[in-house]
């Protein structure tokens, strides 16, 4: 298995989906069954490669890059094909793989209008390559390419298969992220030219930790990175594309967007912004914390004002990603561990919630909360799964959501030395209020959708309970939510080494 460990395994995990896409494109449009099978097999094979990585991963050494490959790519600009994963990237990579498989199974026989499984699955596979690649990239330019690669498929997914307002939403989504990534690219270039020796290699840059850069320059470069990542997360006040994109996107698009694409932003902070520019990170941390907390409260308040189930879940994402960003802003290993856990937990839980919102819409042809009700009567299993996921999302202990939220709040009690403690403790209080609000809007949503009697217009409608593709797609996600909730060390054990490495690097650079 030497070939697998020396980079080929990871390369396979990144590029198998795109190979599958080529095959899918080669199959005539009419042979839908063949297209679906190829797509499913591809995602399963990718997942198998992912499981291979999981099995062969060295858990005693999670802080170091494993399955590394470092080959020449664009020599002229000194950018290399450098990939590798550590304890932070591994869980996110697997999250992306599991979610994609679930998405392909979920859409098995209900492709949104205008149908066309060929196009839809091809885009899904292309998305997976972009996502997996971003988590594995260890070179800034490579990272940029993969980071951008997800834009086009998502743009078309929203624009072609989306709701009534899809054109506006897709363009808005694209423009926001494009703007952010243009500035991010400028920052990458500035980093390249201002560090000696010139390099795009992330580990090398992290090693240097911004040495030789004047504070003001660091802050300016960090601003560019911040905008690129914060728009993707999205942080308040750059979040306005998110509710539109989520509301209009087809179910699978929403799921991938929430479960994985948002993580690209937070991952960018942990992988690039913090280790490479620690001093600027320290200067910016209180502001990031502030925006995170505003996001938590603002997102929660917006949720309470929503009438559309999917839009509500979208705003809850803004709030939840606020917790993740608060954890990152503390710059401590405790906070960042919580943040990485929060990313995975949010991916599983909110991904599930979007699946459920899609299933509800499919059955009732509406997501209007005022028209829904009595799901527990008409489709009890679906109703209980919704309840379960709402509980997980509000941070019920024993389920995954708790371990992302609670430690993130706790970590704000004692941020990294040098950060304003009082400010962060104030953030902590507001974040805690945010959890109460979260319980409020999630339970409110659950109550509106599931409790009571069905509304008269749907009384006689036949509402099908959870069917087979849904069971198959959801079971792994539900099991993971429970498993991570009951035994969080499953994940903390993997992330801790890598996170400590990042946090120590930051602390050392600031101290020295």
């Amino acid at each position: 298995m030497d070939w697998f460990d020396s980079g080929w395994g990871l390369t396979l995990a990144i590029f198998l989906p795109v190979a599958g896409m080529v095959v899918v494109l080669a199959i005539p449009k009419a042979q839908e069954q063949a297209i679906k099978i190829v797509a499913l097999l591809t995602t399963l094979a990718t997942l198998a490669a992912g499981v291979g990585l999981l099995v062969r991963f060295d858990y005693d050494d999670t802080g170091d890059l494993q399955f590394e490959a470092n080959k020449s790519w664009i020599d002229v600009i000194q950018s290399r094909y450098h990939i590798g994963i550590d304890g932070i990237a591994l869980p996110l990579l697997l999250l992306s793989m599991v979610v994609t498989v679930a998405c392909v199974i979920y859409s098995w026989d209900h492709f949104p209008a205008p149908h066309n499984p060929k196009g839809f699955l091809a885009l899904t596979l292309l998305l997976e390559t972009g996502m997996n690649g971003t988590f594995a990239a260890q070179d800034l330019i490579l990272f940029f390419i993969f980071f951008e690669l997800v834009l086009l498929p998502m743009f078309f997914m929203i624009g072609v298969w989306g709701g009534p307002n899809r054109v506006y939403a897709s363009i808005k989504f694209f423009l926001f992220t494009l703007f952010g990534s243009a500035l991010m690219l400028l920052s990458f270039l500035a980093l390249f030219f201002l560090t000696e020796p010139h390099t795009f290699d992330i580990p090398t840059l992290a090693e240097a930790a911004g040495e030789g850069l004047v504070g003001s320059t660091q802050n300016l470069i960090f601003l560019g990175l911040f905008l690129g990542f914060a728009i993707k997360v999205p942080m308040f006040p750059f979040h306005t594309w998110l509710p539109d994109a989520h509301t209009e996107a087809p179910t699978v698009g929403s799921v991938i967007l929430a479960a994985v694409l948002l993580k690209l932003g937070t991952y960018g902070f942990v992988r690039i912004a913090l280790p490479v520019l620690p001093q600027a990170a320290e200067d910016w941390a209180p502001w990031i914390g502030l925006l995170a907390v505003i996001g938590i409260i603002y997102g929660a308040l917006c949720c309470l004002a929503q009438r559309d189930m999917k839009r509500l879940i979208a705003f809850s994402s803004v709030a939840h990603m606020g917790f993740v960003m608060l954890g990152i802003a503390t710059l401590t290993d405790f906070g960042i561990n919580a943040a990485v856990f929060g990313m995975v937990a949010h991916g599983l839980i909110t991904g599930m919630l979007f699946f459920l919102a899609g299933s509800v819409q499919e059955r009732y042809n509406t997501r209007e909360l005022s028209r829904l009700g009595g799901l527990l009567v008409q489709a009890p299993r679906l109703g209980w799964i919704l309840g379960f996921c709402a509980m997980a999302s509000l941070g019920l202990p024993g389920l995954a959501g708790f371990w992302g939220e609670f430690p993130a709040i706790l970590s704000a009690y004692e941020p990294l030395e040098g950060l304003p403690v009082e400010t962060f403790r104030t953030f902590m209080v507001f974040a805690a209020i945010g959890t109460v609000l979260a319980a409020g809007y999630l339970l409110w949503m659950f109550q509106r959708v599931a409790f009571g009697e069905p509304k008269p217009e749907f009384e006689s409608a036949h509402i099908h309970d959870v069917h087979a593709p849904e069971w198959i797609a959801w079971t792994p996600l539900l099991l993971l939510i429970v498993a991570l909730g009951v035994y969080p060390n499953l994940l903390f054990k993997i992330t801790d080494g890598a996170v400590t490495g990042v946090a120590d690097g930051v602390a050392k650079a600031i101290g020295g």
Partner: protein
């Protein structure tokens, strides 16, 4: 003194000249109604002309003729290959268009190839006179080509406008050159002018001379505010000619600017950097903002090419502070721009065969009626927008790289303007993609489109470049690196 002829160095031009004569005579002796044989002959001639370019590249030695006025170095070779390939693709996209029109067929290729001959000469021209002659050889045949559809008033308008502006710009440029000649004490070789500029004792009028020369070239590359002719000319000309004008003819102008700056004015940077800075910023911004409002695809691409020209000027505007990176950036950008713009025009030609329309509205639902054309058009346009993993990203990237290597407030400001502009540009490129995929087709156009074989080859070639270079840019990057003459 007898001039020494290095026939190997001149071989690409000689072969192409021969091919031009063959095409003209063959059309005279064996007239065929469709003009397809002539087009095959023309494409064959262009491919044969590539052979000596290859042997020169393998040989690798720099050759200098005519007292240093004609040089064959890696830079010249790389761009000769570029121009011949662009010409080849142009002939491919023209074949059926010209064949189905009711006009003179043989002369079309004759004129096209003559213009290409001017481009080949331009890559090697290293004195003011050669540059001027090459530029006129590029331009004059295209004046006629623009008016090819002589029963169409728009085509007539296109030709007249292009001709008048072309002559005016030549006059301005020539005046500038004559001033340079006088001020420098009778120098025409760029190398000599370079020494004169480096000496630093040039009178203030020298700056005026440089300015006038650059303005002349600014007309050729349709840089704002000298771009007014471009949209009308592009819209009125036959579409293959427009493709040729927007890629090859424009690139010819850029090659002239590259040579004249790098070999001539380089040290007098305070005279040309600000001019190019302003041209670049204005071209990007005005080109993009005007493109946003276009309803005709060719006019939109015309303004987009004005904006793209602005992006190509960006590295030139910082060339003094980052000479190597800027040179590479211009060459790489030209290569990639050539592929993606020709591809876009090839799709426009293919679509217009069926819809007989150049309105952007007519692209509605293309993704359903002709998915392959839809995918290709989206790929070319989004590549022009610079979205990875399509080749356009690398063109933009090398441009930004030059800007950041130069550093300094002026350069970084220009970089930020370029970044904002690439976001604006996305609007109108995506606007077309949106119609292709998000809208339903007009009812009467249902049914598959037939794309002729020659056009298919052209599309495949452009698409291959856009995809392969997007994922593995090293291929072009290496050529760009080799081409730097410093």
């Amino acid at each position: 003194m007898n001039p020494v002829f290095d026939y190997h160095a001149l071989a690409p031009e000689l072969v192409l000249s021969g091919a031009i004569v063959v095409v003209l005579v063959a059309d005279l002796l064996f007239p065929d109604r469709e003009g397809l044989q002539t087009s095959r002959l023309a494409s064959l001639g262009i491919l044969v002309a590539l052979v000596p370019v290859l042997t020169l590249a393998i040989d690798g030695a720099d050759r200098s003729l005519f007292g240093g006025g004609f040089v064959v170095d890696d830079y010249a070779i790389a761009l000769k290959a570029f121009f011949l390939l662009v010409a080849y693709v142009t002939v491919l996209v023209s074949a059926d268009y010209v064949g189905e029109g009711d006009y003179y067929k043989g002369e079309f290729y004759f004129l096209l190839m003559s213009s290409v001959l001017g481009m080949l000469a331009m890559t090697s021209a290293r004195d003011l006179i050669s540059i001027f002659v090459a530029l006129e050889l590029i331009s004059i045949p295209t004046f006629v080509l623009a008016g090819w559809r002589k029963h169409d008033t728009k085509s007539n308008e296109a030709a007249i406008k292009y001709y008048l502006i072309g002559v005016l710009s030549s006059a301005v440029m020539l005046y500038g050159m004559s001033l340079i000649y006088g001020l420098s004490g009778g120098k025409v070789l760029l190398a000599d002018i370079g020494k004169f500029a480096a000496a630093g004792d040039a009178p203030p009028l020298f700056a005026v001379a440089i300015f006038l020369t650059l303005v002349g070239f600014a007309f050729k590359v349709s840089a704002v505010p000298f771009h007014f002719w471009a949209p009308d000319t592009y819209e009125g000309s036959p579409t293959p000619v427009t493709a040729f004008l927007s890629v090859a003819s424009k690139a010819g102008g850029f090659v002239a600017i590259l040579s004249i700056i790098y070999f001539g004015f380089f040290e007098a940077d305070e005279s040309w950097q600000p001019v190019l800075w302003a041209l670049a910023a204005a071209s990007m911004t005005v080109g993009n903002l005007t493109a946003l409002r276009q309803t005709n695809i060719v006019r939109m691409l015309a303004y987009s090419s004005v904006a793209q020209g602005g992006f190509i000027l960006v590295p030139l505007a910082v060339a003094q502070d980052a000479p190597r990176a800027s040179f590479e950036a211009v060459v790489i950008y030209l290569f990639i721009y050539g592929a993606m713009n020709l591809g876009a025009f090839a799709v426009v030609i293919a679509v217009a065969r069926r819809t007989r329309s150049g309105e952007i509205e007519s692209y509605a639902g293309l993704g359903q009626t002709a998915p392959v054309l839809g995918i290709l058009m989206s790929a070319f346009l989004l590549s022009l927008a610079g979205i990875p993993p399509l080749a356009g990203w690398f063109a933009k990237f090398v441009m930004f790289r030059a800007v950041f290597e130069a550093g300094g407030a002026g350069a970084v400001t220009l970089g930020v303007i370029a970044a904002v502009n690439s976001v604006i540009a996305f609007f109108y490129y995506a606007g077309v993609a949106r119609r292709i995929w998000f809208e339903d087709p007009a009812a009467e156009l249902a049914g598959p489109a037939r794309v002729p074989a020659a056009l298919t080859v052209a599309l495949a070639m452009s698409a291959a470049v856009v995809l392969v270079i997007g994922v593995y840019p090293q291929l072009f990057a290496r050529v760009g690196e080799l081409a730097v003459p410093l």
